[in-house]
C-alpha cells in the first residue's frame, strides 16, 4: 500500500497486532474515520477496541447527560464523573478514550444523527449506531447508502444475555486467505430494510430464534407502547401480541418463538449484561478492523450471541441474488 511508513512509536506499540493483521492493515486503520452514535456499555467496549487498534479518528455522538444510572456497565465513566452533572456521555467517553491511545483522534459531535444531511456522512468510513428505533436505523442506513463513497454501516444491540450485530458493507471486495495465497472475494450486502423485509416463511428453518425475537421486540417498541418497561408484567402480554401479529403476517408458527426466550429478553429490558457487552464489542471491533483493512471474511450480515447457550452465530439474511 502507498503512503508513508509507520513511525517507530507506532511499530513498537502495535507490534503484537501487526503480527496478526499485517502492516498494510495497520496503515489503513490509521487512516480510517469511525463514527459511533448512541453510547452504552456495548459501544464502550467497541470504542475501546478500535481505539487500541489505532484507527485514525473516532467521533462520538450522544448528548444525553451522564447519570449514575449510566455507570451500571461502563468502564469509561469514572466515579467522579458520574457525580458531576452537566456533561454529556459523548464528552465523558471522549476523555477516557483519548487516554487509551494518544495516537487516535477522538472527538465529540453534538446533535441528532438522523437530522444530519448526507454530506456529514462523507467524513466517515464506518458508521455504528446503537439504541435507536428501527425507523431511525433504517433512515441512517439509507443515508450511508446514498453516498458515493462506500460507508460501512453497523448496528449493535445488547438485550440482557442476548446480543445482535447487523452489518451492511454494500458492495464489498476483500482479500480472502487461501492455502495457496489470497484471492479477491466479492460480497453484496442488503440494506437493513431489505434484509428484514424478507418474509419469515422464506427463511431457512434453522435461522436462529433470536433473529425473530429481536424483530418482535422492534415491532413492539415501534408500537404505541413504546420502550420496554422495566416491569415485565406490563410489557410481556404486548410483546406476545406482537409475536402473534408478526408470525401471522410472515407465515411462521408462533411455537417457533418460545415464550421463555421472549420472557428473558423482556425481563432484561434495556439492561446490558457486561460479559455480553464485552463479547459483542469484541466481535464488532473485529468486523470493523476487517472492513477497514479489506482482510478476512466479514460477517454477512447478522451476528447473534446468547449467553444462555454460549453460541456466537452468523446468519445470512439476504434477498435471493438476482
Amino acid at each position: 500500500m502507498d503512503g508513508e511508513e509507520l513511525t517507530a512509536q507506532q511499530t513498537a506499540l502495535y507490534d503484537r497486532q501487526i503480527r496478526v493483521w499485517g502492516v498494510d492493515a495497520q496503515k489503513r486503520l490509521s487512516k480510517a474515520n469511525v463514527l459511533v452514535s448512541g453510547l452504552n456499555g456495548t459501544v464502550a467496549e467497541f470504542c475501546k477496541n478500535i481505539v487500541l487498534a489505532g484507527v485514525g479518528s473516532l467521533t462520538l455522538m450522544d448528548d444525553r447527560l451522564v447519570t449514575e444510572n449510566a455507570t451500571h456497565a461502563n468502564f469509561l465513566i469514572t466515579a467522579e464523573e458520574s457525580k458531576l452533572s452537566g456533561r454529556s456521555l459523548a464528552e465523558v467517553y471522549c476523555n477516557s478514550l483519548r487516554e487509551f491511545n494518544p495516537m487516535v483522534h477522538v472527538s465529540v459531535e453534538k446533535g441528532d444523527l438522523h437530522y444530519f444531511d448526507g454530506n456529514f456522512f462523507d467524513k466517515f468510513d464506518i458508521v455504528i449506531i446503537s439504541g435507536y428505533s428501527l425507523k431511525v436505523k433504517k433512515l441512517i442506513n439509507s443515508k450511508c447508502r446514498e453516498r458515493q463513497k462506500r460507508i460501512a454501516f453497523y448496528t449493535v444491540e445488547c438485550r440482557g444475555s442476548c446480543g445482535e450485530i447487523f452489518v451492511d458493507l454494500q458492495n464489498y471486495t476483500y482479500a480472502q486467505k487461501k492455502s495457496d495465497g489470497t484471492i479477491e472475494c466479492h460480497m453484496e450486502y442488503p440494506s437493513l430494510e431489505d434484509a428484514i423485509s424478507i418474509p419469515w416463511r422464506d427463511l431457512p428453518k434453522k435461522t436462529t430464534k433470536t433473529y425473530f425475537a429481536m424483530r418482535v421486540l422492534e415491532y413492539f417498541e415501534s408500537s404505541q407502547y413504546g420502550k420496554l418497561c422495566q416491569t415485565s408484567d406490563f410489557s410481556l402480554p404486548h410483546v406476545l401480541e406482537s409475536r402473534k401479529v408478526l408470525c401471522d403476517e410472515q407465515g411462521l408458527s408462533e411455537s417457533h418463538l418460545p415464550d421463555a426466550l421472549l420472557n428473558r429478553l423482556v425481563a432484561a429490558g434495556a439492561r446490558e449484561y457486561p460479559p455480553v457487552c464485552a463479547i459483542l464489542g469484541g466481535f464488532l471491533g473485529q468486523e470493523v478492523i476487517k472492513a477497514i483493512s479489506g482482510k478476512g471474511d466479514p460477517i454477512k450480515n447478522f451476528f447473534y450471541f446468547d449467553a444462555a447457550d454460549g453460541k456466537g452465530i452468523i446468519e445470512d439474511i439476504s434477498p435471493p441474488s438476482k
Binding site: L13, N101, P275, I279
Partner: protein, 651 residues
C-alpha cells in the same frame, strides 16, 4: 440479572491469575458484572508492547507492576470493591493450598504452560473450580475444570515447545526458523553468552572432528584485534570456513542442495565499513543502541540485502564490543534487546542466504526468535466475557450448564463462538487420578540431578519436589532444610541412581511428591541400557501418563490428524509458544461429547466432517432453546484453526 445470580456474584471471592491481555479485560468485566472481592496475582511489569491491548495500562505505567496498576485503574470506575493485587509469582510458596482454599473460583489468564499446570494442581488439591483460558490472534478458548465433574487441565496431553534436531540446526537447515535458532542459540550464545555452556557451534561436521583447529580459540578476540577485524574474521569463520568444512562431507549433500560459503570480501569488497559521523550521537541519546540509524535502515519490515545484513552483522558485533562490553559473557537473547535482535536477524539471514533459504525482515525474525505470539484486544475481550459467564455458572453451582468455548477465526457451522460440553476426567491422568508411571532409565549412568531436572521438574512440572524410596528421603527442595541435610542432598544429586545410599535399580518404586501442589506420583523404575539419541536425547522415557507430549516431532507431523478436540489456543505472548494444540485424546478414556444429530440440511461443511475421537458416550447438549435440532453443538475438527496453530508450533 436474576437475584440468585447477583447474590452468587456478590458473595464470591475470586482469584485471577494473570493481569495481562486476558487479565485486564477479565478484571474490568468482573468488576462491571458485580464481583466485589477479587484477588490478582501477576509477577510481570508493564511493557510498551502491552499497551495496544492491555487497556488498563498507560505509557507512564511502563515498568510498574501489572497487578497493582490494573487494580488502581479499575477502582477508578468501580471504587467500592475489594481488589487485592499480588506482584508475585504464582509458584511462590505463599500461594499454597490453604491460600487457594479461600476462593470460590480461580480464573486463569496466564501466558505459560508451567504456571497453568501449577495452578491446576493447586486447584485440584484445594478443590476449587478453575476456569482456564488462552488466546492467540483471533483464536481463543475457555475451559472449565471442576474436580470430580470434569477433566483437569492436564488430562489431555500438552505439547512442549518445538525443538529441532541438533544436526538440522548445525548442518542442514531447510527453513528460516532453523537459521534463527542457529543464530540465537548457537552463535549469539557463543559470542555473548556464558562461555562455559556447552555449545554445538563449532563441532561440525561431527564425523570429521580433527579438521577444526582448536575450536575454542576461534571465538576469542586477541588484544591487538579491533572489533571490525574480529567481526570479519568471525563472519568468515562461521559463514565461510565452516560451510566449506561441511561441504567436504559428500554424504550429507547427496540428497540436499549444497550451501555456498560466504566471505566478507565478496559481500563488502575491500572497503572498510562506511560509518557516518553522526554515529556517536545516535548511541549517546536515550535511544537503545542500534545499528539501523547509522546504516540507513529505517523500516523493520524491509528485507535487507546480503550486503546490508553483513553490515548489520559487523556493526552490531562492534557495538556489543565497544558499547556493551560489560554484558558480554552473560547475555541471554532477549526479544526486547534491539541490538541482539539486529545481530540475530543479520546472522540468520546470512546463513539463510548461504543455504538458499529466503531471507526475512527484522520484524519477522524478531517474532520467530522471541516466540512472539500474536495478540489483539478483541479476542481477549471476548474470552474474558466468556470466562465471567462460566464463573457465574460455577458460583451458582450450575455445573450442568458449564461449557468449554472456542473462539474461531472462520465460522464452523455458522458459529464463531462454539460451546462444547466439558470432558470427563481422564482415568489415567497422573495429576487428577492415581496413576503409577513407568520410567525407563539407565540407572548406572544417570545422575539423580538429571532425573530431578528433566523428569520431575520439566515433565512432571513439580516446583518443590521430594523424592522418596520407601521411607528413605533421597532428595528434597525447599527453603527450610537443615544445612547438613542439604549438603547430603547436594551430594546425592551428583550420584548416579544405582549408587545412591538407598539404591535405585530396576524394579524400584520411587515416590515423588510436591507438598505445595499436594501432588504425589509413584514411578516404577526400569533399567535400560540403550536409547535412540535422536528420539530420546536425555536417555529417559517416561510412560503411562498423560502429561505433555514428549516427542515433538511426532506431534508436529500430524498435520492431517484432525480427529481431535476443537483447536485450542495458547495465549498472548506465550514465551513457550502455543501450548494447547489439538491432540488425540488418551485412548480408552471415556469422554462426553456434545454431539449433533445431523439433520438433512446442515452438512454445509462436508469436507471437514469430524472424526469424533470417541463416540462411546455421545451426549446431547441440554439447550435452553431446545425443541428442535438447530441448536445442538458438535465437536468439530477445525482444520483451519488447527493448521494455523501448527504453523506456529512447527515454524
Amino acid at each position: 440479572m436474576a437475584d440468585s445470580h447477583l447474590q452468587a456474584v456478590k458473595g464470591a471471592k475470586v482469584l485471577m491469575v494473570g493481569a495481562g491481555g486476558i487479565g485486564c479485560e477479565l478484571l474490568k468485566t468482573l468488576a462491571l458484572s458485580g464481583f466485589e472481592d477479587i484477588h490478582i496475582i501477576d509477577m510481570d511489569t508493564i511493557e510498551v508492547s502491552n499497551l495496544n491491548r492491555q487497556f488498563l495500562f498507560r505509557q507512564s505505567h511502563v515498568g510498574q507492576s501489572k497487578a497493582k496498576v490494573a487494580r488502581d485503574a479499575v477502582l477508578k470506575f468501580k471504587p467500592h470493591i475489594n481488589i487485592k493485587p499480588y506482584h508475585a509469582n504464582v509458584k511462590s510458596p505463599e500461594f499454597n493450598v490453604e491460600f487457594f482454599k479461600q476462593f470460590s473460583v480461580v480464573l486463569n489468564g496466564l501466558d505459560n504452560l508451567d504456571a497453568r499446570r501449577h495452578v491446576n494442581r493447586l486447584c485440584l488439591a484445594a478443590q476449587v473450580p478453575l476456569v482456564e483460558s488462552g488466546t492467540t490472534g483471533y483464536l481463543g478458548q475457555v475451559t472449565v475444570h471442576v474436580k470430580g465433574k470434569t477433566e483437569c487441565y492436564e488430562c489431555q496431553p500438552k505439547p512442549t515447545p518445538k525443538s529441532y534436531p541438533v544436526c538440522t540446526i548445525t548442518s542442514t537447515p531447510s527453513k528460516f526458523v532453523h537459521c534463527v535458532v542457529w543464530a540465537k542459540d548457537l552463535l549469539f550464545a557463543k559470542l555473548f553468552g556464558d562461555k562455559s555452556q556447552d555449545n554445538d557451534l563449532n563441532i561440525r561436521p561431527s564425523d570429521d572432528g580433527n579438521t577444526s583447529k582448536n575450536p575454542e580459540d576461534v571465538f576469542e578476540r586477541s588484544s591487538d584485534e579491533n572489533a571490525e577485524k574480529y567481526g570479519r574474521r568471525i563472519h568468515d569463520h562461521v559463514f565461510g570456513y565452516n560451510i566449506e568444512l561441511a561441504l567436504a562431507n559428500d554424504e550429507t549433500w547427496k540428497n540436499r542442495k549444497k550451501p555456498s560459503p560466504i566471505y566478507i570480501k565478496d559481500v563488502l569488497p575491500d572497503k572498510s565499513l562506511q560509518r557516518n559521523g553522526h554515529l556517536e550521537n545516535c548511541t549517546s541519546e536515550d535511544m537503545p543502541i542500534s545499528t539501523m540509524p547509522t546504516l540507513g535502515l529505517k523500516n523493520p519490515q524491509d528485507i535487507w540485502s546480503l550486503a546490508e545484513n553483513a553490515e548489520v552483522f559487523l556493526e552490531s558485533l562492534r557495538l556489543f564490543i565497544e558499547k556493551r562490553d560489560k554484558d558480554i559473557g552473560n547475555l541471554i537473547f532477549d526479544k526486547d534487546d534491539q541490538l541482539a535482535v539486529e545481530f540475530v536477524t543479520a546472522a540468520a539471514n546470512i546463513r539463510a542466504s548461504s543455504f538458499g533459504i529466503p531471507m526475512h525482515s527484522l520484524f519477522e525474525a524478531k517474532g520467530i526468535a522471541g516466540n512472539i505470539v500474536h495478540a489483539v484486544a478483541t479476542t481477549n475481550a471476548i474470552i474474558a466475557g466468556l470466562i465471567v459467564i462460566e464463573a457465574i455458572k460455577i458460583l451458582q453451582c450450575d455445573f450442568h450448564n458449564c461449557r468449554m468455548s472456542y473462539c474461531l477465526e472462520h465460522p464452523s457451522r455458522k458459529m464463531l463462538l462454539m460451546p462444547v460440553e466439558p470432558f470427563e476426567a481422564n482415568k489415567s491422568c497422573y495429576v487428577c487420578s492415581e496413576q503409577t508411571l513407568l520410567l525407563e532409565i539407565n540407572t548406572w549412568t544417570t545422575k539423580l540431578r538429571d532425573f530431578v531436572e528433566k523428569i520431575i521438574r520439566n515433565i512432571l512440572g513439580m516446583n518443590l519436589p521430594i523424592v522418596m524410596h520407601g521411607a528413605n528421603l533421597i532428595y528434597e527442595d525447599g527453603d527450610d532444610i537443615e544445612e547438613d541435610i542439604a549438603t547430603n542432598y547436594a551430594r546425592n544429586l551428583d550420584k548416579v541412581l544405582a549408587e545412591l545410599p538407598s539404591q535405585v535399580t530396576n524394579g524400584t518404586v520411587l515416590t515423588v511428591e510436591d507438598l505445595q501442589q499436594e501432588l504425589t506420583c509413584n514411578i516404577n523404575i526400569k533399567h535400560r541400557e540403550e536409547f535412540d539419541e535422536e528420539k530420546h536425547p536425555d536417555g529417559m522415557v517416561l510412560s503411562g501418563w498423560s502429561g505433555h507430549l514428549n516427542d515433538n516431532k511426532v506431534a508436529s507431523n500430524k498435520e492431517n490428524d484432525i480427529s481431535s478436540a476443537p483447536s485450542a489456543a495458547a495465549d498472548a505472548e506465550n514465551p513457550d509458544g502455543p501450548d494447547v494444540v489439538p491432540e488425540k485424546p488418551h485412548s480408552g478414556s471415556k469422554r462426553k461429547i456434545s454431539e449433533v444429530e445431523e439433520s438433512s440440511d446442515n452438512s454445509e461443511n462436508p469436507s471437514s466432517k469430524p472424526n469424533l475421537p470417541d463416540r462411546e458416550n455421545p451426549h446431547q447438549v441440554d439447550d435452553s432453546n431446545s425443541g428442535d435440532d438447530d441448536d445442538v453443538v458438535m465437536l468439530v475438527a477445525l482444520p483451519e484453526a488447527g493448521k494455523k496453530k501448527r504453523v506456529q508450533t512447527a515454524d
